[in-house]
Subunit: 585 residues, 2 copies
Amino acid sequence: MDTFTPTPASIPPPGVRYNLREVTTSPNHHALNPLAFILRAAQIYPDKVALIHADVEFPVRYTFAVWAQRIQNLAYALIKAGIKPGDRVGVISPNAWARHYHTRYISLPPLVFLYSQDAHHAVIAARGVITPINTRLKPSEVAYIIEHSQAKLLLVDHECKHLVAGHNVPVIISNDTGRVGDPYEQFLTEGRQFSKEKGWPGLMPELDENAAAVLCYTSGTTGRPKGVVTTLRGSYLAAIANAAEGQMNANSTYLWILPMFHAAGWTFPWSCSFSFATQITLRTVNFTHIWKHFLHSGVTHYCAAPTVQIGIVNDPHAKKPPQVVTAIIAGAAPTAHLIGELERTGINPVHVYGLTETYGPFTRNYPQPSWATISLDERARLMARQGQAFATAEDVRVVFPYPEGVEDGPLVDVPRDGKTVGEIVTRGNIVMKEYFRDSAATKKAFAGGSFHTGDLAVMHPNGTVAILDRSKDIIISGGEASQNASSLAIEQELSSHPHVLEVSVVARPHVKWGERPMAFVVLHPQHEGRWKGRHADFEADLKNHAKSKLPGFACPEWVEIVPELPKTSTGKILKLELRKIVAKL
Amino acid sequence: MDTFTPTPASIPPPGVRYNLREVTTSPNHHALNPLAFILRAAQIYPDKVALIHADVEFPVRYTFAVWAQRIQNLAYALIKAGIKPGDRVGVISPNAWARHYHTRYISLPPLVFLYSQDAHHAVIAARGVITPINTRLKPSEVAYIIEHSQAKLLLVDHECKHLVAGHNVPVIISNDTGRVGDPYEQFLTEGRQFSKEKGWPGLMPELDENAAAVLCYTSGTTGRPKGVVTTLRGSYLAAIANAAEGQMNANSTYLWILPMFHAAGWTFPWSCSFSFATQITLRTVNFTHIWKHFLHSGVTHYCAAPTVQIGIVNDPHAKKPPQVVTAIIAGAAPTAHLIGELERTGINPVHVYGLTETYGPFTRNYPQPSWATISLDERARLMARQGQAFATAEDVRVVFPYPEGVEDGPLVDVPRDGKTVGEIVTRGNIVMKEYFRDSAATKKAFAGGSFHTGDLAVMHPNGTVAILDRSKDIIISGGEASQNASSLAIEQELSSHPHVLEVSVVARPHVKWGERPMAFVVLHPQHEGRWKGRHADFEADLKNHAKSKLPGFACPEWVEIVPELPKTSTGKILKLELRKIVAKL
């Protein structure tokens, strides 16, 4: 087997220093900037493995010292290419869905690309704004983002070339090999030459911690995506909070399952550098790969939505890894069944909640000592709540919506009764700076001085936030508010049926009641044989199960078995698609 | 035994909220303030034990909810007493040295007082500036601090009354009981009444994160103490860094051995709230108490100087605790002997370095993977270095001193050769705001745009800082720079003699060489019998030991066995006192 050696330009010079240019600023104040973490990691642990790019033809390993040199090379290359402070640099990762393994359960998005890791640090070092682009978008959607972001340069994987055809923005192609001859490596080598060995001290630090760090487009299921601008200060504080919540340290190994283009990977590129953790990136992700790394690469942490977690625990390779693995779960609430399965597999679930606009997670479901003595079902019900604010968030509230026609003004908290539905709002350092070039949307999102998440929730007496549903996910049954059913609550209960792998519930028009719940179910592969050709029997069985758990108005009126659920590239279930199916019934 | 119940005023009202008054600020920016951590801890873990005040007649336990209420009461009481934003509030803890147990090894300072814990949060909540006062000072020194700080109010333990006699600053006395009838409890009760149950939302948050948080007077061994002003932003960031370096979490229990009046307890009052850790405070500290808590109270973390650590490992109660205990060591470098003893006792040493002006620790000696295969002596030699910058420090450098007559200007790094001696300087968010009412000293300390520590060090090729000595601790032997001996290096080698408990080396005039090292040695109690009446034999034995480890000019010319070494209240050896002894020889 060919062994890997970094390109000559990736080797740091002897006596390298990890300080940016010294500028006369205050002796007792410096701008918060997550770039500091990789510089410090390279300074303290130069020879520790920082990055493993696995499951490619020739696996790539970079130490912190080599990786930092590559980041520096990219920063210089960007400056040479004309990137000025504040300019956007687009990054498009490989689009390799054809290679997926377990399409049966879930189609994992392609993620992983050495240069996206580089870019999350180097674009900031060049004082540009990294603009990660979702690889599952259509060329027309990519075109919109390129134009809206006014990107000055695109870093594009060789498999994504077709997505950027026809633009006149300069493109650097990466073959993702890390080898001499790769156009991206050539770009880095030119950066190194351009640096004239001025090194880190040749780069100017950003002096404004409120400068933009990332421009991330939301994967809105309807309408144009919005460009979320985050800052250096927010990224620094969110990254530290994520490292603290995950209890990451120099012995941690983080496996990339979450796409880095999703809310800058929830700031984990920087959380890992802060913690001196090793990161494993993959070119294509499937559950065989995941289990290989859980069992043999010492993985201690990963992030993923519940749908992905379901795929993980149901993979035939699943068995207890030799080390504790912490699963950071967001995107939807984990069900009791999933929590039980994860724990049985030796995986420690941490449930967090957030949006692109909040740098990824900004609340966590904090485990309570009292949970030691309650049943798994009861615990799972409590763990499904979105929880309470991260240390670096200012506050998290649930407030009444403005009355019809009112668009701004003071926000009024709903009572802490676990019943009154309002909208989750939050404020502080880990809220985005703005929607890019969209002051109207920014103004609306910041009405009343807080960021409006659009998520409907209740506030429990102990201050815990629990999402019910996006407003359209409330099933209005009978017109009485007390009989409004949360599709999320119904899903939680249906998923406790042992033969259900995944379930999604939407409203379906009903002659008598106005609306009634309809459930779309993916059967567990171990049990699907039993119901083959007997869908009506399964329907009856599931309805019976529901009746023992839910009030009548919340029991599904219809149950449909489907081979898989439609999902976004980040694993969120596309209820819009299910509603389209319902509309045609 | 009488059981403890909190005073009625300490019980939070039902439905308490942990947000300060809502003010119209930015939705995406809030002032960093370590007060946020206790509010969040009380919100998320209201019923978890936050504070245990042990080893008093009736031990006191407060949950986070109760403790937060007491902090709130104190904040209101301070406001009622006329404290305005920016006003200084002095705190003087019990002065109980008469009670010390092991005066034979070291006289631990008195520390610990419930209300100092309260004050570290409540004074900030009232937007005042906490001014902890060292209890070992003479009344005239306390008078200087009261006058210089212009304190508006003093919180004084009943045993310290004599220290504040004759001042006309209002004084609140605490009997440190937590019980009705204690004047401090009465003060809190009045605060609660004054609040009219407006709770946390009745308190205005500080909107300027660069506002002063603490005014701490340095325990300078010569001259007037200087008032070090730190900020809310710096305290927030330093506290998070300390929690991260110690890997603290909700399962941690922190034992107060370090006095809280020393650099605000290195920000650990806030690190503990950030981590949801339980804190154990003591009224008097001795090694029997410490071991009781190591063995039976689940202690996982403590901070102390090496001299205190020596007392800990040599206590007859020492045995491996059931949990891992992390010892955060600063004030001087731990010797190989001490590191070995700590590890054998199941204590994990973390060596950090800092000053009051840097919020306590700002560098850490980061353990390296390569240390797994080297000898303890070799590892201890590497671990004795002060290390590299914390995540929240901007940079740490070793620079040439300014030439004679020059007082400001660019700083030039010494070569990274592990040999060239310069001064440690640092910059960034965890450097103090200023010396209070002393712009000349501030200007001098910030010359060239960095804070000057006054500590002389070398920079090793890997970027690790290693202190040699304060300039006066260099022994100038023969007048040639290459023969200047570091007393610290000599102490490191002498302490590896198995019969040495503690050793301190100072320069003593020498007819031929100008200066030569003189060693003051405390014998280990297990071995002192052997050398009884044979001091000259021990001297020969130690000199022999030195010869095998040190160049001739660094070997002690004189060895004096002493029963104990003179120390400051924070456990630093007072070399000044040893030099006075030498001057009389």
